[in-house]
Symmetry: C2
Subunit: 557 residues, 2 copies
């Protein structure tokens, strides 16, 4: 281990120790009869929000340090720092700087005195490390290396099989998706069959479905990494017209594997793997974004099944989907909260376009209307209205046993949605990064290519760093999830990557000058698309407060 | 003066002193034979960029402190802090925190040792001030006050005449512009006459034109404040469909007043005041965003005038404009740089829509094609092609005297464009802020309106602060410009306000959850529109480096 990496590791450990102490401080203040009180914690939301980001960054820094060591061990290299090491050190310095600034600004919230910080995160050692690895000279040098090496931000560290998958989906994104992406966006079109059909053939929809159920995932283990690699590469082509296609089957497959009866698995999973039908997820309701326990869509028992009445919103791809994974309230007493919810597999005919309507023989109807959005186009996000819509008993996820367990099955799917979303963020970042690099070589101002200016090089260094971190953090979480772990990390990487993606796309646009604002420049679309990432699959505030900070504080010492 | 404000002022003075010392340090390193060398300065771009923002923030903090004192003196109030004071203190604390973090991260660039910083910007006094005025409790309290007072962020401090102007344009924006804005954006339409005609009648286009030339500005002084107030209010209605209408006549009027012959002033200014014709500004060329001195559009002398050949881009409103203020190269030797440039008043017929073509009797042509953009819609930004296009001698700005002076006349117009843009940013911020407030009262998650959560209140407090700062800083610069000063400050406020506007619109959108991404929510449009502000009228990098930092360092001790 190089001494620099060794030092970075010890300083990041110090940051983790300070962070843990802050979490303990918050816990002590939020206890009510020995238990963490949600309302007391709400009085410290700002601190919780900051600590969630802090945990995400510290975790990511450790992932990057591990990764850079593994690359060194596997690939060797000269005595000079490899780019992976340079980026790991830069990210460690940024993490320390962010953590120090957070604690310095609101010491009281975290229970620190100025003296304590001076001995720990605000010590000369930390300060020197930050000043060294965020120095203008270092950043400029990293930017130059990246630009000279055509945007190489480090080894992917994938095995041969995954590397092949990556190559073929990357080529598909470049050759098929990218040329269609602008047109789909500006005209708000459906994803065309030119994209959809080859993806089915490439096995894309069977990635998280075990072989025994007709997918391509080995039966003895999950293959989250494969799915992540494919999603990232497709998202590089287009977030809405390709990169988000796997998210929905991924969520539904997880829910089925967690809670479905054997019959349901055997019936549905092979169909999902073939995208016959495509599926959608109907969980969110108007005014209840991520507040799943408050869902109201009513399911009433009738002979042979249930009828659904009510409304779901932000149901992406509902038109083209033949089945909607739908969360409904089977216990009308709202006090039952999340225990009154059940998951249904709701079949419907498929429709292209921005609206649909279907009437059953019993007179029940399902109708949908796409919500025009500023970006993330291609799949369309629908509001779906259920009116006396009949679903047979066989389509209750988990059968009789599944009644009242819809919330848990939803949660099982959501972790998949989060890591999916981090991979989507990485793909969009990669695309924007490539455009920023090529434009910075092309565009000349005041007599020089803008890529020759220090400020551009510094921006490129930070872009490269965030891109590498996002990718390796996502890969790391995928590997954890293969081992049945990584629930918390899936939330952390979602939080960090989506934020990074917004910044990176903003700067990629800025590098383009006026042209960045033109629709013909893909960066304008990347900017708009990246904006949705911090909103869906767990809005950043909900994720930071209700998922991450809550769990961190509950488990704090 | 309250003791808190007094303390803030002394700490902001300290920040200014540290900043000046950093500027001197940079100057010393960039000297070449006693003069500041551009290429040496380019080796310190990151530091220059950071210091430009730093200067903008410190200046804004002083403006806010002055303003809060003036409000206290004029309006009094109870012993409690007025909201203006609370926001001034909060902004001072944020400025100190930003400045401290910048200097702490890259001490070497600015010539500071850790010991020096510990005695100045990183002292216990500064730290206590930051921790007090950025404390969660203070921010939450400010957020609550703002929410309870329907978004009141402090007195405007306008005289009765300006207050009346503000009210009438505000009503026009609410009643006429806002209901049309979404449609104009989503369909990429021309600004309709329903908006254009009443604005002519309201005198909007004559705001920066002296009465003696048919405008409504008193002859003895400029009235930048009036123009700023109107632009802000119209931009609240829509950036592209109303708020940017005054920018172009403003720039052309300034150029005419600075460099036009008496005949030209008498001929053109009354026409501009009546928007007959509308005008556009043709300066930017492809690949030469803000690099005016490299402009290439060729002007060749012929009998009775000149013919123009070449291309201009990002010429907003070129279709509907009857005259283009056009910068062209009259000295073909590129080595003549900006001294080879001349300004022409190029007449053309007016055309609605996204493309135009016109042929003169001599066979010369002018054609235009709108560049589809992600936002800022309504005026359309054109690429304009000149082919042997004849312009008579009478249309050379400044006549024979004006040949070779085009660059200076451009600069005269640009300061107007910058303060205009800051006012546009304030207007967009105000609109987004209003939506964020109303939605935070409406939307319920986890059983409470999101406006009741601490994190939302903290966001609202920062929004309110940035909005008030942007407005008062812009007003301040307008008053300076009335006195013939404020060139530097116009750049500073442009830099600061455009950045603030991006953040504010992003958070206003985030408060809306999924609905923020829907086109039917105006915040989605505000987000997209605000993104153009840091790109046009001086891209942030050019402004920070080539305009602000360069001048600050040249004048540093």
């Amino acid at each position: 281990m190089s001494s620099a990496i060794e030092q970075a590791r010890s300083l990041i450990d110090l940051a983790q120790t300070s962070l843990n102490s802050a979490l303990s401080h918050l816990k002590a203040g939020a206890l009510d009869n020995g238990r963490v009180s949600g309302s007391k914690l709400d009085e410290k939301q700002l601190a919780c929000y900051e600590l969630a980001y802090c945990e995400a960054e510290v975790t990511a820094a450790n992932v990057m340090l591990d990764y850079s060591q593994k690359v060194r061990a596997d690939k060797g290299g000269s005595d000079e720092l490899r780019i992976e090491e340079a980026l790991a050190l830069q990210y460690s310095a940024e993490t320390l700087q962010n953590t120090r600034a957070r604690f310095n600004t609101r010491r009281g919230d975290y229970g620190f005195s100025r003296e304590q910080l001076a001995k720990t995160l605000d010590s000369d050692t930390v300060d020197d490390f930050i000043n060294l690895y965020l120095s203008t000279e270092k950043l400029e040098a990293v930017g130059k290396t990246i630009l000279n090496n055509e945007g190489y931000v480090g080894e992917y560290m994938l095995d041969d099989e995954k590397a092949m998958m990556r190559d073929s989906f990357r080529a598909f994104a470049s050759d098929v998706v990218m040329p269609l992406a602008e047109h789909i966006h500006t005209k708000d079109l459906d994803i065309p069959d030119e994209i959809l059909k080859p993806l089915v053939e490439l096995g894309c929809f069977g990635l998280s479905i075990p072989m025994q159920y007709g997918g391509i995932q080995p039966d003895d283990s999950e293959d989250n990494l494969g799915m992540i690699v494919v999603t990232e590469e497709l998202s590089r082509g287009s977030l809405g017209a390709a990169g988000s296609l796997i998210t929905r089957p991924e969520i539904m497959a997880r829910a089925l594997l967690k809670g479905g009866t054997e019959d349901q698995k055997q019936y549905w999973l092979p169909k999902l793997a073939q995208a016959e039908p495509l599926n959608a997820v109907a969980v969110t309701e108007p005014n209840f974004g991520s507040d799943v326990a408050s869902m109201k869509l009513k399911a009433t028992q009738v002979a042979g099944g249930w009828v659904l009445d009510g409304e779901k919103t932000w149901c992406t791809f509902a038109g083209k989907a033949g089945v909607l994974l739908t969360l409904a309230r089977t216990n009308p007493d709202m006090k039952s909260g999340h225990k009154g919810l059940t998951m249904f597999l709701v079949e419907k005919p498929t429709f292209p376009g921005h609206a649909f309507a279907h009437e059953q023989e019993n007179g029940g109807t399902i109708t949908g209307k796409a919500i025009p959005t500023m970006g993330y186009r291609g799949m369309h996000s629908f509001t779906v209205f259920f009116d006396n819509y009949f679903v047979p008993d066989s389509h209750v996820l988990g059968g009789n046993e599944g009644i009242g367990k819809g919330f848990y099955f939803t949660m099982a799917g959501f972790a998949g949605g989060r890591i999916q979303t981090a991979a989507r963020a990485t793909g969009v970042m990669q695309a924007a990064f490539e455009r920023a690099l090529s434009y910075s070589k092309e565009r000349v101002v005041f007599g020089k290519a803008i890529g020759e200016y220090q400020l551009t090089l510094v921006k490129i260094a930070r872009m490269a760093m965030l891109l590498a971190v996002s990718r390796q953090f996502t890969y790391h979480v995928a590997r954890l999830m293969d081992e049945g772990q990584g629930q918390m990390e899936a939330s952390l990487v979602k939080l960090a990557s989506c934020k990074s993606s917004e910044w990176l796309c903003r700067e990629a646009m800025q590098i383009h000058g006026g042209m960045g604002y033109a629709e013909e420049s893909p960066v304008s679309r990347y900017f708009i698309d990246s904006r949705v990432l911090s909103i869906f699959e767990g809005a950043e505030e909900t994720l930071a407060l209700k998922v991450i900070a809550k769990a961190l504080i509950e488990r704090a010492a």
